[in-house]
Symmetry: C2
Subunit: 460 residues, 2 copies
């Protein structure tokens, strides 16, 4: 690994962490960070607080100098007026990685203050994230600098999706949403004003990170457009990069300028650059995690001809509409498939795509049709609409689709629309590695991402 | 009420119901219907089954003739070959309302068979729903002919939204989804092949029905375009009509022809007709219930100038984008508001729309800004983004927004993005009558519906 990437890795895998500004009072930032860290991180934690002996059961230190051992990472959450002193302490202590949570710099117009920090940090050759950020979360090492209490913001389980977010609030809310959907995450990075390490550095790092299978970026503006796109292009050849761009409209861009100070730039330029560099653009929050989930669980498609299997005719119609609107195609089944499918449908059934297995379809009818469609060379991907409310469809449909998915050289996604009973099985599908969606529109968009990424990889 | 509407009302408010084809075996359609009915319906239920004395604890009858009392409604779920005989029995018994569940008629090409039924029913002057349908559900009378077992498909609580669905599977899955979201429903109608009563009849009926505040229609094609639009236009003047049209694309239309036999017709013609008749078109499943929920809970807007209040800057940017994309406008605050808002923001805060209350905003900061925006004449609607993960924002934000909503002459909707903790509060908002959404995009679309319906009512 290149040096800068190895250095970034130390943020996620430190042996010891100092929390400077660790607070004793619940509800304070410095308390929350310490609390998040001590719950999972197995390395040594040093709370630094001039007035405390112990915090949250851990021995506290009046200042950094009192800590005899080496410290790999400092998380700084002190009031702005104390930051300079703290950074100098860190330099003396030879701490090479700092997450600076404190805000009140360039984001509110104090670029001069930010430059001062930068000078100290550069001189000490410190790598740092922030200021004005939430910092990082790593589901494996459990380094967790988010000051949002776990009872309000759940941490996701281990998995292959990693996030870079220019907005801390956006990124963390998404993390929380993802956790509640049972989706796994590797790393999360809120980089704030990116005075030190920048979006492009993290992007590059995640491109190399073996635990990261899919990268998601929330950006308002990027630090260096050309560099970002070049890196994204290189990474896209081995793992998908999904970007959600905020500040797309004129009014949104104005809001972005006021929020992160980003010059959002022309959205058309971004759009063209995304396309050219193989970045998949998510156009809504739901897109982000639908795309990420599908791409983590599924192989990309080798073409855009999609088969739809359903036990509800109306859902077939809606799915067909969504496929056309997404620029995908309904596959024309091979003659062989048409013949075989004809045999498994009830006498009044008709072989079309969408394939309506009719309301009384049971798991066997699904198994047989999936068998046929998995083999059909005219089909590049399959959307299985399985309405679980019917009397006939058994819960074993989950295993049947999972088997088909494991066997298939093409992606399979599921749509099951419904309430609590259905939602339980959506989770079951995903436990077996099949991405499952609550509406046909979302299943189609996920398929779109799988097709698009197949195209990026040059599969068709 | 016009006679036909009074007749339709008898489907929803019968004193007695016969279930013809009531079955003893769980898993059969005739069993599920009886089971659904007996759980809530307080009138008399007569299971008809030639081989049973009792079913599900109810006395059963060998045939209709054995029932001495008058019967208001028959639900027929017998095999196709027995339907003619059963309908004749119903005629003799002078049953004036029939729901015919049995399928296998025009939807699979047997229009002749359907004509035969029609002849008998017309002669007996019977009003009927079907064939090939799920029938009806009424949350108040608990008439429930859906053969989808309650453990798989939850029934929603009482409320003001009513549905007409050309697709039984679609309608019922939506009903289930709505139930799980805690949204209330008045009536649900799956009319199948509409050989007897048609979409237009139900639409007109729901227009008159006092328990129905918002009407939702799923259509692939309508029985009589001009009539449908005329009725919709008349109803729209007093309550919102939301339509989800399937079969919009060429491929979707082909699928629709194969599903309900509907000639979907040109989508452009539909679209123009919807617009002209004041119908709000939902373009996704999520739209349907987001629109319905917002319109049931909120007053329509008197203009399209929207204020956004947020404690997460990134969410402000995304919301601003979504507002522009939806054709709404960001309100320009009045000078008075700007002055007052300036006083409640922290010193580094800036008064813009979206109004960023900054990450440390507490409920008081929200209360004060809502107070100002509710009074601002330049603001037609308010989107409150409340990220509940922060340390500072207390759960009482729910009461604060609810109070503002009750006071305001303009609609207020909420967006809170997050996991389980947040979702709990989304439900709390709605219990207090404030429509709440998990993403800014969905909150904006709901606001769009409120603005659009205000326009339909001529409010601006």
């Amino acid at each position: 690994m290149v040096k800068i990437l190895a250095d970034i890795d130390k943020f996620f895998n430190p042996k010891s962490i100092a929390v400077i500004g660790a607070a004793r009072e619940p509800g304070k930032v410095g308390y929350s960070i310490l609390d998040s860290l001590r719950k999972g991180f197995s390395g040594k934690i040093y709370p630094i607080n001039p007035f405390a002996d112990r915090i949250l059961g851990l021995q506290a230190y009046k200042n950094l100098a009192n800590v005899k051992e080496a410290i790999d990472l400092a998380v700084v959450a002190v009031p702005k007026k104390a930051v300079i002193t703290v950074l100098k302490d860190c330099a003396r202590k030879k701490i090479k990685n700092i997450v600076l949570i404190t805000s009140g710099y360039s984001e509110i117009g104090d670029s001069k203050g930010e430059m001062e920090l930068l000078k100290i940090l550069k001189k000490a050759k410190t790598r740092f994230i922030g200021p004005n950020c939430l910092g990082i979360f790593d589901s494996y090492s459990q380094v967790d600098t988010l000051f949002l209490p776990e009872e309000k913001l759940a941490r996701p389980k281990q998995g292959g999706i990693s996030f870079i977010s220019q907005s801390g609030a956006f990124g963390s809310a998404l993390l929380d949403l993802i956790a509640s959907e049972g989706i796994g995450v590797s790393k999360f990075i809120s980089y704030g004003n990116q005075a030190g390490l920048k979006d492009v550095d993290f992007l590059e790092y995640l491109g190399e990170d073996e635990k990261t299978k899919v990268i998601v970026c929330y950006i308002e503006g990027v630090s260096d457009g050309r560099k970002f796109m070049n890196i994204a292009k290189r990474i896209s050849a081995k793992k998908p990069v999904i970007v959600f761009k905020a500040g797309k409209t004129e009014k949104g861009a104005i809001a972005a300028a006021s929020h992160t100070g980003s010059l959002a730039g022309s959205y058309d330029v971004y759009k063209a650059a995304f396309k050219q560099s193989g970045v998949l653009e998510a156009s809504s929050i739901e897109d982000i995690f639908d795309f990420a989930k599908a791409l983590e669980m599924q192989k990309p498609a080798k073409g855009k001809r999609v088969a739809v299997v359903t036990n509800g005719g109306g859902f077939g119609v809606i799915t067909a509409d969504a496929i056309a609107e997404a620029g995908l195609e309904l596959a024309g089944f091979s003659n062989e498939s048409i013949k075989s499918l004809g045999k498994i449908l009830p006498e009044y059934g008709r072989v079309h795509n969408p394939l309506d297995l009719v309301g009384d379809a049971d798991k066997e009818r699904y198994r047989q049709s999936l068998d046929i469609l998995v083999r059909d060379k005219n089909v590049d991907g399959i959307i299985v609409v399985a309405l679980l409310q019917t009397i006939s469809l058994q819960p074993e449909i989950v295993d049947i689709v999972a088997e088909a998915k494991n066997k298939a050289e093409k992606p399979i996604v599921v749509c099951s629309t419904g309430g609590d009973y259905t939602k339980k099985y959506l989770a079951e599908f995903e436990k077996k590695g099949v991405p499952a969606f609550i509406t046909p529109e979302r299943a189609v968009k996920a398929m779109w991402a799988l097709v698009k990424y197949g195209e990026v990889l040059g599969k068709f």
